[in-house]
Homo-oligomer: 134 residues x 6
């Protein structure tokens, strides 16, 4: 088994806010991330697939195909968007890095060959990242 | 003459929109950056001061003092903010990377010893940055 | 299960020297790292915790809380220190990257919720790092 | 168990071409990577070994020894080479990142103490990498 | 005056060889870079333009337009190519990093508004780069 | 005119202390950097030379020769050393980043062809650096 990882990126605005909590609790819990006017990040995404090398082509997966899947399903969906307002995925889900990672994984899991294990790493900033593999 | 550079960072949301243009012109010119619900970036900031080494201390400038000036005047002002809505500087100025760089330089120029030359480099993403020195 | 990683850093001096070996053996084995007057590094630390997302907050862990734990227990203890002379942990333990990683993990393990798996990555230089997960 | 990772690098030319396929199929499948005159990369290699710390030295492995093994067996073999033409390993094996990773792992596996687990990460570009652990 | 920089990249093979020198002199002077079967690099390119901010748009230059100019004139020309064999520019010019930088600058100078100063930085590896501004 | 830059690195311990000041003043002014037992850094060094391309070789300077000059005169002198105790240069000069940069520049200026302009950039940490060009 071998794994191949492809990096991509998108820029988005978001706000962390639990609508079932009071404004005071949101402010205390999420701090600056609760700013009602949103803030934003350059999200760096690493998508890793794991499986067996195809002996004929020498590829685990065609990196260009993988790159296109990521571009069409993730980057074009989230890039230059307000995650809270512009996307259906985060209408009722708080766009923490953890939740964004799970959403991205779930979208990609539908698009990538089931024979391949899938995991992702999402950098919210260069100083913190989340990893999820289902 | 020697220069010393200090890196810092802030995360913010913004939107590029000229209120004197039609929505069509804004959309055509700024593209995705015109998204009415904002998007965001991790801004990385490099502040450079240039001058003569103080022979007694061996410092051009105390890096901790410089770091505090940047933190108090730039990061605390812009971090986790919506540049268009939450800051007075961009109420009537479009927050392009170029304009943000000029604003940061102007704020810091007031706070840093006039004997020192000042220049800044602002990364909007890891793939593009702006430099300004007055 | 999801994991969240936070990066931090500290700068320290150290010397690799086994007091039970002769000076010749120390010099031959550790080479430049045995320099009796110490040398130093910028240590970059990545702390990873793994567990379940809290569905209410969307957090695995509050990154700010995690960051404070690292700052108070690791960075303030080791930053700008001589690991051999200034810290109790390395009075009788050789401060190799491996041993530093184990010490950091053990300190953090006491401070981080036992429900969370803990692992760390410690860069001694940008070209070599150590990983430990208990 | 602890792991230690060492980074190194080599620059090489290669071409992806399956001699059992028609030129049309090669061109369609490998795209630009099939260019008959070769193209090239700065390959960044991370070699990770895992095992127990030697309590006497505080080392899992002497990083200098590990570095020399990588230099002598991998870098000096592949650096500034055309992988297809200049190396015996890829005379009959397509030098995809996946195959290069497996070859490097197999070479190193022979040279590194069997008590240590071995895995490698090979960056073909800063945007894509392969991981293999046997 | 402000400057804006955009990063891009291409992967290519090359060989350093002066056809007017003997093979012995080429081998002695260029060393491994003279390998007759070529080697290669991931070239990272930074293109910087300098001028005045347009007060209406807040842009010095539209980064997307600049990015497209670089893509169409540089990356599509050199990416996944053998610089010596596949490009007219290096048929009779040795593709050292210095010469590649001058060629890239000259191509871009024709395509970028003459009111803007132009300079480029070309990384041949993460450890060495060339800068040229005409 | 074109410039070529080469990166290298060394790891060292140091202490900032002015022997003509009281301990109190040193502690207040230099803070943690005054720690009497030293601390340390991974210093990253970029050496830039500027001049005309030799039309025959296509080189401004042979990077391998430049790299050897840096290795022999800077890295082998400072790597794994205590700058205060192990080097003649900082016996009576406080090893601030600024002073280290001036010392490195002065050493290299003697060894590099006078036709070439010389400048250096020294990173004390990934977050701060100094530039000097004589």
């Amino acid at each position: 088994m071998i794994s191949v990882t492809r990096k991509s990126h998108f820029n988005a605005a978001h706000r962390l806010h639990n609508t079932e909590w009071s404004d005071e609790k949101n402010d205390k819990f999420y701090g600056l991330c609760n700013n009602k006017n949103y803030h934003g990040h350059n999200y760096d995404l690493e998508v890793t697939v794991k499986g067996d090398i195809d002996p004929e082509s020498g590829y685990l997966v065609d990196m260009k195909v993988l790159s296109n899947i990521i571009e069409e399903n993730i980057c074009s969906r989230f890039d230059h968007k307000n995650l809270n307002l512009d996307t259906s995925e985060f209408k009722n889900l708080i766009p923490t890095a953890e939740n964004i990672a799970v959403v991205i994984w779930s979208i990609l899991r539908e698009k990538i060959d089931k024979k391949l294990e899938l995991s992702i790493r999402l950098f919210e900033t260069p100083r913190n990242f989340v990893e999820y593999s289902g």
